[in-house]
Amino acid sequence: MSGTNTSMSRAEILGNIRTGLNRNQDDSQRQQTVANRLATKADNLIPGRAQLPFTEQVALFKAMTDEALAELIELDSIEQVPQACTDWLSNHGIKQLISASDTELTALDWSPLDQQQITRTERVAQAGDTASLTSSFAGIAETGTIMLHSGSQSPTTLNFLPDNHLVILRRSTIVGVYEEAWKKTREKYSNSMPRTVNMITGPSRSADIEQKLQMGAHGPKNLVILFIND
């Protein structure tokens, strides 16, 4: 690297910290403390709000998504998704659906879209896209938050670039608090992480002009949760 020596900076920064902490000698106990904390992954205080029976967690999730100004459409099964998408898109005069390509989605019968001349394309998002459809990993009752993981079949741009984001959420994936979602993530990725984890709570907004809230800043103007009662 020209002009700067980051390894020298590194040594100086760590040296300063160690000097400040008076720890230039035996460090084994501190190292053990750190190793323990990283291995235990202990919970801190978990608020009582979402420590509820499952049905009440589901009710809390719905109430919190409503507060976050997301739209929630309840469906009996995943098979109803194509019709629900068709209805929502045609109500909003949208003729395009950019879709993630996971097997859950591709396996569905998409013929309802054809009747309304809506095209469905599986690709990453581009500027100008009006609507996207993705799956999701979990719903978090505490704040009505949806967790999404990036992957080869679930490009991240679909969550941000299109004007409207339709997202499928299965009732069975609702958890009470963020911590439960982290535990499920670790299980799925064997203690690693997907490249991107998105926690999304309602549509994009900004209050940067005179502290007055406006919806639809840079991300989706509408977040539509297709809630599968599985």
């Binding site: 991240t156 941000f160 992480m193």
Partner: protein, 472 residues
């Protein structure tokens, strides 16, 4: 950024007389404190979360070197690179070099106070790379060649009219005074910039040692477009942002949104762990983390270590009567309000930043709302002591204090003078008990009346209480 901290007095004076600024600041006072109070009410465990937040930060700082090393090794394990920058200059050079590696012409930026601190935009521009701010508030400021006056609501000092003017001039579209129309305009203009950018630069609210992830927290979604679309994502962050685990990060996320905007949760909380993976259809091909020190490592083990707990929520300035009266620009550098008054002297030197720890009434509101319970008034007092010991205060203040100390240590002198001053002030105040003009106290009486002392002197009241056996 130019340092104007030595002119705090004049700038504060001008700010108080600036009608537009006062109007804009009215939005702050009515907004954030009330929203925070509601959010705190809805979370009965909030006080205990604050205690845990404080304790966890203290634990992290006691093991800071080890957690940073762990974070670094995890970033590398996930295919990213970590660059260490001792100074602002080092950080700027590293970032420029990374931009040049990919022949970057434009760089989109998410909101980042660390990049303000190191003066990144000016440096990139001077070296042929065009930075584009994408947070709505920061974008407005960039068009106006202005700087943030608040760490989470950067354009809080502006009114609708200012935004409307700036957009009309730069976007060449019909002028609008509808905030919704203005935001839509920014959305459309910035869409192309997001897609065209070669590099995306964001900050990080936290760096997770367990996983090597960085997290950004935004309401607009601009940070996500910034870091997902370009080929290279550079995270510019500082060494104290590291947290041990995802659970530990979660504790701070619960505190952050509520303390900052009074939201239950910020709209987008996004973790980034390394570059694009095999089979991924989008996401950056290069993932860099620039760890900035810029004076922080010297704070470890010093009387200012507590300041490193700060999670940049802005609650202290939102509730500060001084900030609310004079606005962020009066402070004259990047970080305003109580947290800025502690941090700024550390970063630019007490010689230049000495005015700021004095710009406080020590009312203690900042500490009472701080999510990690930083004793901000105490830390400002440390700076005042430091300033006094280095003989940096104005002569009038030094001699005044010395004179007062001389008297205070000699009760036989002090008592009669206190009685006399009290009598004199009462006479001056007349029947209403308010003094309109007081010699040597123009800084007070120019703006409001000085209440005259009530009743007797403190010493006399004390004596009588002791005699009557009352509790003081």
């Amino acid at each position: 950024m130019q340092i104007n901290t030595p002119f705090f007095k004049q700038r504060a004076h001008d700010a108080l007389a600036d009608e537009n600024l006062q109007k804009a600041l009215g939005n702050l006072k009515a907004g954030f404190p009330e929203k925070r109070a509601i959010a705190v009410d809805r979370m009965p465990e909030f006080e205990e979360l604050r205690n845990q937040g404080r304790d966890l930060k203290n634990h992290i700082l006691e093991h800071l070197d080890l957690y940073i090393e762990q974070f670094e090794s995890k970033v590398i394990e996930n295919g990213g690179q970590v660059h260490w920058a001792r100074t602002a200059e080092d950080a700027n050079q590293i970032i420029l070099d990374l931009c040049k590696q990919v022949d970057a012409k434009t760089v989109t930026k998410g909101k980042s106070m660390v990049t303000e601190e190191i003066g990144l935009n000016d440096f990139l521009e001077a070296n042929g790379v065009q930075p584009v701010e994408t947070d709505l508030g920061e974008y407005i400021l960039q068009l106006r060649e202005d700087h943030p006056s608040h760490i989470i609501a950067p354009a809080i000092h502006l009114n609708l009219e200012d935004v409307s003017e700036a957009f009309h001039e730069h976007h060449k579209r019909p002028k609008s005074d509808d905030p919704a129309v203005l935001m839509q305009e920014a959305r459309e203009v910035l869409r192309d910039k997001f897609v065209a950018a070669d590099v995306g630069i964001t900050g990080a609210n936290f760096c997770v040692a367990e996983t090597g992830s960085t997290i950004i927290v935004t309401n607009e979604g601009n940070g996500d477009l910034t870091q997902t679309l370009p080929k290279t994502h550079i995270v510019v962050t500082s060494i104290e942002k590291v947290v041990p685990t995802l659970e530990d990060m979660t504790l701070f996320l619960r505190l952050l949104a509520r303390s900052a905007t009074g939201q239950e949760f910020t709209v987008y909380n996004t973790l980034s762990t390394g570059p694009r993976r095999e089979g991924d259809q989008d996401g950056p091909e290069n993932f860099h983390v620039v760890l900035v020190d810029n004076g922080r490592s010297e704070m470890v083990g010093s009387e200012f270590q507590d300041m490193l707990r700060c999670i940049r929520c802005s609650a202290c300035m939102n509730h500060c009567p001084v900030y609310g009266a004079v606005g962020g620009h009066s402070y004259g550098w990047v970080y305003p309000g109580p947290m800025g008054s502690v941090l700024t002297p550390q970063m630019i030197g007490i010689e230049k930043g000495g005015m700021l720890p004095n710009a406080s009434t020590f009312c203690g509101k900042c500490e009472s709302v701080c999510p990690v319970k930083i004793p901000l008034p105490k830390l400002m007092r440390h700076w005042r002591e430091d300033e006094f010991q280095k003989h940096l205060q104005p002569k009038a203040a030094r001699y005044g204090l010395a004179g007062w100390a001389f008297m205070a240590k000699r009760p036989a002198l002090y008592k009669p003078y206190a009685r006399m001053a009290s009598w004199f002030m009462k006479r001056l105040a007349g029947k209403k008990g308010r003094i309109k003009k007081l010699p040597l106290a123009g800084g007070w009486t120019d703006w409001r009346d000085m209440p005259a002392p009530q009743g007797t002197t403190f010493m006399k009241a004390w004596k009588e209480q002791q005699k009557n056996g009352e509790q003081p």
